[in-house]
Amino acid sequence: MRRDYEIIRNLIAENSKVLDLGCGNGELLAYLKKEKNIKGKGIEINGQRVSESIARGITVYQGDMEEVLPEYPDKAYDYIIISQTLQEVRNPELVLTHSLRVARFVIVSFPNFGHWRVRFYILCRGRIPSSIGGFNYTWYETPDVHPLSIRDFEDYCKIKNIRIVRAYYLAKDKEVRVSPNFFATLGIYMITHSQ
């Protein structure tokens, strides 16, 4: 199993209620159902991926998370997972704010655009990175409309009074201990409203 999925699994309590925003083909929810007996639900905008989720036995809503999330009641879920999706949404602020309202804990992972390869790519070539590490898209094809770095995200949490419960930094599935914003390709966080 993917290392980031294993980390997410370890963060989640047995028998909990989980909402996966941008659940794709339902692989993560199916894994958590099997490992942690969660009651899961996904939101996914792509019809074919919704059908793949249904084929895995996942409950899924086909639609735009930014449209439906504001309508969900407070604390309806134990966890909301935003797995490598935050940088793709039109309004990350809205998604984060409502996620923190709808779930007790929000698990966020995203590709770190502060990684040294990205920095050197721009510095040396003067181009937006593509086809390196986890950054696979040309500027005109990328779904990543809001690229962010580990430092960006942690600053955001500080400004918005969001408590970071756990943070993990990965590079090639291995944990990064030093200078994560320079060395990690992926950041995984569990956050909650600070109280």
Binding site: G47, V50, S51, I54, A55, G57, I58, T59, V60, Y61, Q62, G63, E71, Y72, P73, A76
Partner: protein, 377 residues
């Protein structure tokens, strides 16, 4: 080569006086006959029964062939051995609605009080009445709990009504291309159809069973209805501005365009298989449909349905029962914490997509049913 699946229509009569069925209008109806068909085998524990509900012009003959027929039932691409509603696994039931003209008691049936067809003496029926009648059939078949209720359009309305009227009898539900209430535009189209029928002199206030029926009115009603089942895109693809068997315009009011010819054919062939009074009664039942009625809100209506698993399906180009109305249903279910999956299938076929988009529906419905069935096994 696929094996030909033969099936026969069966009949169940109940609600004999003095135990008539009490209707929503306050009137009583009885005796009532329901025409129905079954496919596959009911298992020992009677846990594999699926009830399929038909749309406005449908009937009990959902799949397979009647002996001597060249065309199969109306949802044969979805119901049968190895199909979405797999009759090797499930026991599938489909019944004709009351008010219909395909073997169930309706305005063309003989009124026992007069010995003549009911005509307008037939009481106005509602979706809830249709479902109440079906419940008697399910009782008679000895089924305590249906594995699933499924259907499109008016069939979907019956699905929703089942989950609200008899939640304890339903494990899962698949409402397709439908709505929790008929809205102004939908009522408007139905009213045009009814006026076409009632303006036909042959209608004769519904008393025409020993005379020429109001075929012109019924055909026009069907033409209007049929337009609402298609989409701008599918009509453009199918007909465009192509002329019918001519090179240039006729400069008269004969048929010029292919689309006109198609609608005339649809209207005419409908008069061969449908009763005008049934069209009036069933469209009225659809117009009266408002699931929230008597509950205060749609959210309240579903408050006893929390154990039911839902799969709600809509189609992108359906403008008669658009995805927005399916989403209203999904929101009300979600607000109750009900397990609901929503799929909006990309299709250019308009409302008719629920009859035509077999491949994608098969994929999701067969998976959905598999998991629901596994839970009880």
């Amino acid at each position: 080569m696929e094996e030909v699946y033969y099936v026969e229509t069966q009949y169940y009569t109940f609600a004999y006086p003095p135990n008539e069925l009490k209707l929503e209008s306050g009137e009583k109806l009885g005796p009532i006959t329901l025409a129905y068909e079954t496919y596959g085998e009911l298992n020992k524990d009677k846990t594999n029964a699926i009830l399929i509900l038909h749309a406005l012009s449908g009937d009990a003959h959902v799949a397979g062939y009647h002996k001597g027929d060249r065309k199969p039932g109306w949802w044969d691409n979805m119901v049968g051995p190895g199909k979405a509603f797999d009759t090797n696994k499930y026991f599938v039931i489909c019944s004709n609605v009351i008010g219909g003209c395909k073997g169930s008691t309706g305005p063309s049936s003989i009124n026992p009080a007069t010995g003549k067809p009911y005509g307008l003496d037939f009481p106005v029926i509602t979706i809830k009445d249709m479902v109440n009648a079906q419940r008697h059939l399910i009782d008679y078949l000895g089924i305590e709990k249906l594995l699933c209720v499924a259907g499109g359009s008016m069939g979907g309305m019956q699905v929703l009504q089942w989950t609200v009227s008899y939640p304890e009898r339903v494990r899962s539900a698949i409402p397709i291309a439908t709505a929790s209430r008929n809205k102004a535009m939908q009522i408007a189209f139905n009213e045009v159809g009814r006026q076409a029928i009632m303006s036909d002199p042959n209608w004769n206030r519904g008393d025409y069973y020993d005379k020429t029926p109001p075929n012109t009115g019924l055909a026009i009603a069907r033409m209007v209805g049929h337009i609402t089942y298609l989409s701008e895109e599918s009509m453009e693809q199918k007909f465009g501005r192509r002329l019918r068997q001519k090179e240039k315009y006729g400069y008269d009011f004969s048929i010029d365009f292919e689309v006109e010819s198609y609608l005339h054919h649809q209207g005419l062939s409908f008069t061969q298989r449908f009763d005008a009074n049934s069209y009036l009664y069933i469209t009225k039942a659809i117009d009266y449909f408002d699931l929230a009625d008597g509950y205060g809100s749609l959210f309240e209506a579903f408050s006893n349905s929390t154990h039911i698993k839902f799969l709600v399906i809509s189609f992108t180009s359906d403008w008669l029962y658009p995805p927005s109305q399916s989403k209203e249903i999904v929101r009300a279910l979600e607000a109750n914490g009900i397990d609901v999956t929503y799929r909006e299938i990309e299709s250019s076929y308009g409302h008719d997509a629920f009859l035509l988009e077999a491949e994608e529906q098969t994929r999701i419905i067969s998976s959905f049913l598999k998991y629901v069935y596994e839970e009880i096994e």
